[in-house]
């Protein structure tokens, strides 16, 4: 009883804090922007976790679905004058439809082949977006109408946050429902699941459709926020970043992946410049050319990390996979909010001979 109350209080406090952020950061619109982008990635990372971590479908085409919706709403807005909200809806539906097709095509593909096929799909889409200049603007990108008639970032913060919370709630409900049971059975052993009556075809396609729609929705909304998209949103490195966020957060945990994404996003921003004491700055400036030779830079108050920040995350990803398969964030959540500690102890007690097997 006590523990449960404490958990609710903690969750409540976290929620209030998150809702109050814009008030705290009203003088720092840049950080609001970072938060908004963080929420965007959180939606992508958590939906990918549902697809890969829960249902076992290691698809690398997630960003492609996101891009399909973004480009759809952009193109329809430009050519048909469709207002953003309508464009977002159509884009999301189209993502879902393509997700249906891809899910169907992938039915017979097993893990590595699924990964390879979805990479191919994503790359073909990217190459097409780059080539069809008339339709998409190619590498020069596509401009989109803004979603709201306001220059403030605050409403976008709440919109993205709202989308994140709504999608997390939906996916959480899904995971706890019969569908989650089926997804995980399919992940564990597709043949055994089928022998147990689970309609594997229907549910594999379903998880593709749902997660691609969620990714599409996030992509379309984000596109109308940033007001500009290029085929670079689809590059494999972006998919890797989302995967890194999901793995670091916890590949089997929706909330873990979401928090992981937000933290990684903020960390990437914090790491842009490593602040050094003012006294050291002259030395840094002097070292300028040598720093630049290895890809660093001289900032106003420290050293610019440039691409090295992402190198760090690549390393963190690999190390997390090797040493912390459950992620870095999820174990923390688990200890605070669950009673899973019980899980392994009964088995241990059996081994110790205290309980009859």
């Amino acid at each position: 009883m006590n523990r449960s109350l404490l958990q609710w209080i903690m969750a409540g406090a976290a929620l209030i804090l998150v809702l109050a952020v814009p008030l705290l950061l009203s003088n720092y619109p840049y950080w609001l922007h970072v938060a908004i982008v963080g929420f965007f990635y959180a939606i992508l990372a958590s939906s990918w976790t549902l697809l890969a971590g829960h249902a076992g479908q290691f698809s690398f085409g997630h960003m492609a679905f996101m891009a399909i919706a973004a480009y759809t709403t952009g193109i329809l807005g430009r050519d048909l004058g469709l207002p953003p909200v309508a464009g977002i809806i159509v884009g999301t539906l189209l993502s879902g439809f393509v997700g249906l097709i891809v899910g169907f095509l992938c039915l017979r593909l097993r893990r590595t082949y699924l990964a390879l096929f979805t990479i191919a799909f994503s790359e073909i889409l990217r190459l097409s977006l780059n080539s069809e200049l008339d339709l998409t603007g190619g590498p020069n990108g596509l401009h989109l109408e803004r979603l709201l008639e306001t220059t403030s970032r605050v409403p976008y913060y709440y919109i993205m946050l709202g989308l994140l919370l709504a999608s997390l709630a939906f996916m959480y409900w899904l995971a706890r429902s019969r569908f989650g049971l089926f997804f995980r059975a399919i992940r564990e052993d597709e043949e055994a699941a089928a022998a147990m009556g689970v309609h594997v075809v229907r549910y594999k396609i379903m998880v593709f459709v749902i997660t691609s729609m969620i990714a599409g929705l996030a992509g379309a909304v984000e596109a109308h926020y940033i007001e500009f998209i290029t085929p670079n949103i689809l590059i494999i490195a972006q998919m890797s970043l989302v995967i890194a966020m999901a793995v670091i957060g916890g590949i089997e945990s929706l909330v873990g992946a979401a928090i992981g994404a937000i933290l990684v996003q903020f960390a990437l921003e914090f790491l842009r410049e490593i602040p050094l004491p003012e006294a050291l700055m002259p030395w840094v400036v002097e070292m300028g050319p040598r720093l630049e030779a290895i890809g660093l830079g001289v900032g106003e108050h420290g050293i610019l990390t440039n691409a090295w920040r992402l190198v760090v995350f690549g390393l963190v990803l690999m190390l997390t996979l090797r040493f912390a398969r459950n992620g870095l964030i999820f174990p923390i959540i688990d200890r605070l909010f669950r009673q899973r500690a019980r899980k392994e102890t009964v088995a241990k007690r059996v081994q110790a001979g205290e309980v009859e097997p």
Binding site: R111, I119, I236, I243, A244, I294, M318, R325
Partner: protein
Amino acid sequence: MEITGQYLMNLILNGLLIGFIYALMALGLTLIFSVLGVVSFAHGEFYMIGGYVLFFLLDTFTGLNPLIAVVLAGLATFVIGFIFERLFLRPMAKGEIERPGEYAILVTFGLAFFLQYIVLAIVGPYPKKAQRFFDLPTLDLGWISSTATTLRIFDIPLSAARLTAAALAVILLVIAIYFMYRTWTGRGLRATSQDKQAASVVGINPLNMSTLAFGLGTMLAGMSGAALVTVFSWVPAVGVPASSKSFVIIVLGGMGSLPGAMLGGLIIGLVESLGAGLLPDPNRALAYKDAFGLAIFALVLLIKPTGLFGREL
């Protein structure tokens, strides 16, 4: 655009030349897959690094024999691959990793990300290209003629850089085949790929074979890159299409089939060249070049989820 026999020949020859290098790269990936059972999603990044290493070697040590530079580039990628395998892949074989299949995909994907960005950080985004290794002798025999940069057979131009790269690839392929089929180590690798337990029973250490296979595989990728950096413009992202091509080739040729990989390389080289050359819109054609192989790949996977010939995953 008129499609003459000569134009077609041009496409075919140039496609084949590149195909040899693809074959070399794919051979590396097949070797890794057949011994470790893992598709390395970072294969293209080793190709990319090989190219950069060669570029910087030739740039810094101007008198360096380019062939030695290629070997050094191969050694560099060998070492990186070796280290990665020992640290991140060997635990799989020792049973220390849960859900190894999933892990292998994710960790090599992570390696690709890591390598791409570390190179981007150090080298920067601006393209590099290495000078061709050798100038061709000037000669003119009517049907065949050459200048320093280009060989012309029946008026079909073939660049010296491309020819050298292809020749290099063929030599390396021959060495690789000899190694795999005639040397003790090579046979050990092949034995391990067919049956780890049986191989260990006759005294072959499968753990070491795995590390060797991975290192050799990445070495072949690196040397392919070292060969092609004289032909193509190099950026850190160049590994991504290379990875894709390697996947396409091994699925087409059959995962784990050495001859299949080599044949697949030639086929993809041809497909790309013909596809790009025969598509009516030249702008589109170039942009879609990489997509042809991918499209064929996607189709093959749908029709036969385990590739054209070769063992199942």
